[in-house]
Point group: C2
Chain length 139, copies 2
DNA sequence: TACTTTAATCAGAGTCTCTGACCAAAAGCA
DNA sequence: TGCTTTTGGTCAGAGACTCTGATTAAAGTA
């Protein structure tokens, strides 16, 4: 079985479950929106950076941020350091989703660890983190 | 860094690279089409099965198969075992893409192994295969 | 035969994503 | 300074993907 599919299958499982948990808690966001939302940091993040991190075009990122803004999950504020730019910031409303997502993630990781054993789970994480070094275009 | 994102990043890298290689070799398929194409077996596969394996609705699978059929990569033949069903089969034209994809996959795996080392690469594959047992809804 | 399930399609809509063109502010430079 | 290039972001338009709901036809079942 090819390595792409091997990564794809558990990845989708995580995405589906976390999104379902977040939706069930009343946060009405889509997968694409969540992928952008996830990359916004504390101090706010520029659209261009968001686009690069999520690996979509500026237009796509802008489209998703528009929706998130309309729903009240993010806001755009002027970037004090650059008159052209604006910082996308997560609102208090969206922050409520963080613990929900984290709980589901913890649940998933616990299940996986039960199936793989502690040792293999650690190896998996280590290998994936190293892989990020050469496959994450954002770094 | 959450386990979903850790899986997502290298997965996208594989998908992008394999698709780029296949496209560069003159096979004009999209990622979504490729995901369906990948699941069709030698003797042909029913649309319903394809949809389940690729985790999309029958309608979506049908839409993608329509396109693949129009482009000459698959054909639909009656299923001798069931008058309602048809088997989606890969054509000779599409089979030419298989070695192209496999070569790129081998190249990627070699790069990863160079970065992770043989031992960790083996552990990664082992862990992912085990994870498939509990996360692949098609099994 | 009548009822239920299964395989597939049709119709319609919403979502995601892209390319290309454009504007305005910032940065680089003669 | 004034000119050019780069960068951050938006507008417009189109293509691709995916879904829900309804329908047809064949199989399976009581």
């Amino acid at each position: 079985m090819n390595i792409g599919l091997l990564l794809f299958i558990p990845n989708r499982d995580v995405e589906n479950r976390v999104l379902a948990a977040v939706n069930a808690a009343g946060f009405d966001v889509t997968q694409a929106q969540a992928r952008v939302l996830m990359r916004i940091d504390q101090e706010g993040t520029r659209l261009t950076v968001l686009a690069e991190a999520a690996q979509v075009t500026k237009q796509t990122a802008g489209f998703l941020v528009d929706q998130l803004e309309k729903a009240g999950y993010v806001e755009r504020v002027p970037d004090p350091a650059d008159g052209r730019a604006r910082l996308v910031k997560v609102t208090a409303k969206a922050l409520g989703a963080v613990p929900v997502a984290n709980e589901e993630l913890a649940r998933i990781e616990a299940e996986w660890e039960r199936h793989l054993g502690k040792r293999r789970m650690g190896q998996l994480r280590e290998a994936l983190e190293m892989l990020g070094e050469i496959t994450d275009p954002y770094r």
